[in-house]
């Protein structure tokens, strides 16, 4: 082995020893410890290693997947009343990803519908041009042609038959700015109070229930209460399917606090019932008996909070006279568990157990939706549900609250709060109250007396008025009554008679069959606006996409219509931001006060809850307790909505006014939703994956009912009611209670509402979709 050594020394560091005197090529090798060259080599090696490592890191950074979205935007889900915050990932002007917004109330959770929002704006079947029906067929037209025709027909009707011959039928899915504008346009502009909409079919009873009980609409509590409740009393609701992120929060609460009890009251063994600790299945239509019977146990067994009741609650008999505790006791005598057990179909012991659970646990939260609202006694059910909380003092503490769930994303903010129903004016004002009318005439700058003093027509009356010609023109926006109205056959005929303008995003809806003019609307993030969901939470949705073709936002359409009707001065706010400014300032004259919610704040916040009177107010999760800006100083609880600052209990007796079950119509049909499909399926049923995975319209019934009828799974049955008949396949299932049929209403080619009764609650005018007496027979093929 040889080693070479340079002739000249490069030992600058003085590390090398002197050369061996004996002199020999090899001798010069060993004495040097580290030469200058070695140092250089070492340095180079270190440098290369660092460089290599750095380069390797660079490669890894470049390789690390970033996800396809280039930009993310905060928004809100298009669908239900949960109003989930979403984050939308966009690239090249398309929404390509969606995630739950971690900072929104839904804590990052969505359902399958929300998870598929990416495809929503790309669905086939969008309307891209206005259409006018000519010779029986809808044909393309220009905006000018279509709008001129609409204005002409509306003007003609008003001229010939007065302003009440025109009507607006709106939606809990329009933005607040849009519903507010339509309401103002019709009531203060055209002079017609015929402003109603699909929330009448969905939550009118809840709104009336709150208003009667607290003097103000909208719930006292919030979703946040879920994190504190120990008993969940879920009645007439199926949140595991219809409000999935809400139910996920409930399950989360139970996982963290295993003492939590989930009670589900439903005549079907729904997915919610499957998860519940206690499922009780009353006979459909009888659950007011259950609520009063629980009240009976609460009062007679000493579970009531007498101090709370005497301090904060007043009671009324059904005739409006004041009632005292003795009257309550006498009223409840008729509802002893043993007396109602049989009619209710629930054992008396179970009722006692529920009452005790409800009253004695630290915090009880009740949740309900269409099962209580869509009922002939919907208002009584709602006031009584609230009454249980008042009797037990299960209100005004974290986790102790009644909370009605809602079906549409903006029925609360858009319709209830703006007063876009036939009997309402903004922020809880009533048409029938002269002072309220005068106030709104002043705010809107219209002459005194412009707003008609009588309420307009509620949904059912409105369609009946089209039937007999009292209403000649209908502006139907963002809703599908051609599929969603009960006793549909009757109202299909009514729609044929009137001049119907349908504003929708999609073509070929069940309603467009009856349209004389169809106007293409932008949907969801193709326009800007504010949604207000269940818990008084307002959230801004920004415009992120362009609408297809010639489609315009509903606000633009309303503004154009106002101009053509000669009301440009009244409808002076033309953009969502301008309308919001007007509406926000208006709210400061009410207990809804959200004037602190500027557009900028809404852009930043993940929703704000009213009351929120100033720009530095954080918003109000729970009403009527300290923290709510309207609660008087020093009060633990203050029901300020009523003149005497007391919440009210109404002693409304149970009366069986449901569609009668008899020998001819021995079974009860109840309708509802499934998780994947939303309402009439206009959007969800166009999504291929959902359409393929969900069954087409069918009836579900239990084996005990199927066998005597000779029905087996997959057979076809003809279901007949006093209103109509429908044939469809049968699914034998363990879900519905004996004597009960279930059908979902999303299938546009199987209109189950043709069978459903149009009986309604006498006060809220909300139809009863839950109890239709039917006759079932097997179809022999």
């Amino acid at each position: 082995m040889t080693t070479s050594k340079d002739e000249k020394s490069d030992d600058v560091l003085g590390l090398s020893g002197t050369s061996d005197a004996l002199g020999n090529g090899l001798d010069e090798v060993s004495p040097t410890v580290f030469s200058r060259r070695d140092i250089l080599r070492l340095g180079a090696a270190l440098g290369l290693t660092t460089l290599g490592g750095g380069a390797f890191w660079g490669v890894l950074e470049a390789m690390a997947a970033k996800g396809p979205a280039t930009e993310w935007f905060k928004s809100v889900c298009r669908y239900c009343g949960t109003g989930c915050g979403v984050q939308l990932g966009m690239s090249d002007g398309e929404v390509i990803e969606v995630r739950g917004d971690e900072d929104a109330h839904n804590q990052g959770k969505l359902c399958i519908k929300g998870s598929l929002l990416t495809v929503l704006n790309q669905l086939p079947g969008r309307l891209t041009t206005p259409q006018i029906r000519r010779d029986g067929t809808l044909r393309k037209a220009s905006w000018d042609e279509a709008m001129a025709l609409v204005a002409e027909r509306f003007k003609q009707a008003i001229r010939e038959a007065g302003p009440s011959s025109v009507a607006y039928f709106g939606s809990g899915q329009l933005y607040i700015e849009e519903s507010y504008t339509a309401n103002k346009l019709f009531k203060a502009g055209l002079g017609s109070n015929n402003v109603d909409g699909n929330p009448r079919l969905c939550m009118a009873s809840a709104a009336v229930g709150y208003t009667k009980t607290y003097g103000k609409d909208e719930p006292p509590g919030a979703f946040e209460d879920i994190d504190h409740a120990e008993v969940f009393f879920i009645i007439g609701a199926n949140p595991a399917e219809c409000h999935q992120p809400v139910f996920e929060r409930i399950l989360s609460r139970r996982r963290q606090h295993p003492n939590t009890v989930i009670v589900c009251v439903d005549p079907r063994r729904t997915m919610t019932a499957e998860y519940a600790d206690i499922h009780i299945s009353p006979r459909p239509g009888s659950d007011l008996l259950l609520l009063w019977s629980m009240a009976n146990v609460i009062v007679h067994d000493g579970f009531a909070d007498r101090d709370f009741v005497s301090a904060h609650v007043s009671m009324q008999n059904v005739d409006g006279s004041a009632a005292d505790w003795g009257a309550l006791e006498r009223f409840l005598d008729g509802y002893a568990p043993s007396k109602v057990s049989e009619r209710l179909g629930v054992p008396a012991a179970r009722i006692r157990e529920l009452a005790q659970l409800f009253a004695t646990r630290p915090a009880t939260m009740s949740l309900w939706t269409m099962g209580l609202n869509q009922r002939v006694d919907g208002v009584a059910l709602n006031t009584t549900m609230n009454a249980l909380h008042l009797l037990t003092g299960q209100i005004g503490r974290p986790g102790a609250t009644p909370l009605s769930l809602t079906g549409q994303g903006n029925a609360c903010g858009g319709v209830r709060d703006t007063g876009s129903l036939a009997h309402l004016l903004p922020h809880g004002r009533l048409i029938t109250n002269p002072a309220h009318r005068a106030e709104m005439e002043q705010h809107w700058g219209v002459p005194a007396g412009r707003i008609a003093p009588t309420p307009g027509l509620d949904a059912l009356e409105l369609f009946r008025a089209m039937e007999d010609g009292r209403v000649r023109c209908l502006l139907n926006v963002c809703t599908n009554p051609g599929q969603s109205m009960p006793n549909l056959g009757r109202y299909e005929e009514a729609m044929k008679r009137a001049f119907v303008v349908v504003v929708d995003a999609f073509e070929d809806t069940a309603t467009s069959r009856f349209a004389d003019v169809v106007l293409p609307a932008a949907m969801w993030i193709e326009k800007e606006g504010v949604y207000g969901q269940t818990e008084r939470r307002y959230q801004l949705l920004e415009k992120l996409l362009e609408a297809p073709g010639e489609a315009r936002s509903d606000l633009e359409i309303l503004v154009d219509f106002a101009e053509r009707m000669g009301l440009a001065d009244l409808i002076s706010a033309r953009t969502p931001a301008e309308v919001w400014e007007e509406y926000r300032n208006l709210s400061s004259h009410s207990k809804y006060d959200f004037s602190g919610m500027t557009r900028e704040r809404l852009r930043e916040a993940h929703g704000l809850q009213w009351p929120c009177p100033t720009e530095d107010h954080p918003g109000t999760a729970r009403r009527y307790i300290p923290g709510d800006p309207f609660v008087r100083e020093g009060r633990d609880i203050d029901f300020y909505g009523t003149p005497d600052h007391k919440a009210r209990i109404f002693l409304t007796p149970y009366e069986d006014r449901s569609d009668p079950v008899d020998a001819d119509f021995p079974l009860i049909l109840t309708t509802g939703r499934i998780v994947e499909q939303w309402h009439t399926g206009t959007m969800t049923d166009r999504i291929p994956e959902i359409r393929e995975a969900t069954p087409r319209g069918h009836f579900e019934l239990c084996e005990g009912d199927a066998v005597p009828l000779g029905l087996q799974d997959g057979d076809r049955a003809l279901v007949t009611s006093r209103y109509g008949a429908l044939e469809g396949p049968v699914k034998v299932s363990r879900s519905p209670r004996p004597g009960t049929l279930f059908a979902a209403f999303y299938d546009a080619h199987w209109l189950v509402n043709k069978v459903v009764t149009d009986r309604c609650d006498p006060t809220s005018k909300q139809p009863d979709y839950k109890t239709t007496a039917v006759h079932v027979e097997k179809v022999r093929t």
Binding site: M1, T3, L26, D27, V29, S30, G53, F56, W57, L60, E61, M63, A64, A65, K66, G67, I96, E97, V98, R99, G100, E102, D103, Q107, G108, K109, L110, C111, I112, G114, S115, L116, T118, Q244, P245, E248, S252, R255, Q256, V675, E676, E689, I690, A693, T694
Partner: protein
């Protein structure tokens, strides 16, 4: 100290000794014909030198690399390794919090997941997944040591739903939910996330932002 790290240290020390031997050896003693007596046999001195050279330069470093990597890569699977960088502490605090309902905490409590809880979900399956996870870990390490990060950290790409599906797919509770059939392909190709419906895996970015109400608790690992 694990056996592997002891072995690594021993082998590394041996390499060093070998290097020193090679460097300081008196090369005059390697003249051809010079022999070394090893007790039983006598061999050429040069052959011994070459053998030691071969082992020191060619063999030992490879062995050290192998054992060290095995040690590091095995060790990197541990929760302790992940929480070594303090930006990961909030995830670990939350995961070990018995009252937390995050997906991480719920899986941590599940009997099916006894150790390597971070790694189990964050490494893809098979060699490719493991390699990708290690490379990602290396990337994290560089960023952490060079300070090239800001709190709250956020996952750079998408969490791979296959990590969820490899356990849950095919089980009855998974299969009987119709929404899973709808989500199916979108989950596998990353267009949809399991967390869309099933909640947050870890504390939110807001909670992990310095100054937030939860930040202190999450960073100090104090479980209330």
């Amino acid at each position: 100290m694990s056996l592997l790290s002891f072995l690594t240290a021993a082998l590394a020390a041996l390499t060093l000794v070998g290097c020193l031997y090679l460097y300081f050896h008196d090369l005059r003693k390697l003249r051809p014909g010079k022999l070394t007596y090893l007790g039983l046999v006598t061999v050429p001195s040069l052959a011994i030198y070459k053998l030691i050279g071969l082992v020191t330069i060619g063999g030992l470093p490879v062995a050290v690399l192998a054992t060290a990597n095995m040690e590091i890569l095995e060790g990197a699977k541990s929760v302790e390794s992940c929480s070594g960088c303090h930006v990961m502490q909030p995830m670990v605090t939350d995961m070990m919090d018995p009252t937390s309902d995050s997906l991480a905490a719920r899986h941590y409590r599940a009997p099916a997941m006894q150790d390597h809880q971070c790694y189990t979900c964050h490494a893809g399956y098979g060699f490719g997944g493991a390699l990708a996870a290690k490379l990602e870990g290396y990337r994290h390490l560089v960023r952490y040591t060079t300070g090239l990060y800001t709190e709250p950290i956020r996952i750079r790409s998408h969490f791979d739903a296959k990590s969820c599906l490899s356990c849950h797919d095919g089980t009855a509770p998974y299969e009987e939910i119709r929404s899973h059939a709808i989500a199916g392909e979108r989950l596998s190709d990353g267009r949809m996330s399991c967390t869309n419906c099933h909640g947050m895996a870890h504390p939110s970015r807001t909670q992990r932002t310095p100054g937030s109400a939860d930040y202190e608790r999450l960073m100090t690992g104090r479980v209330e």
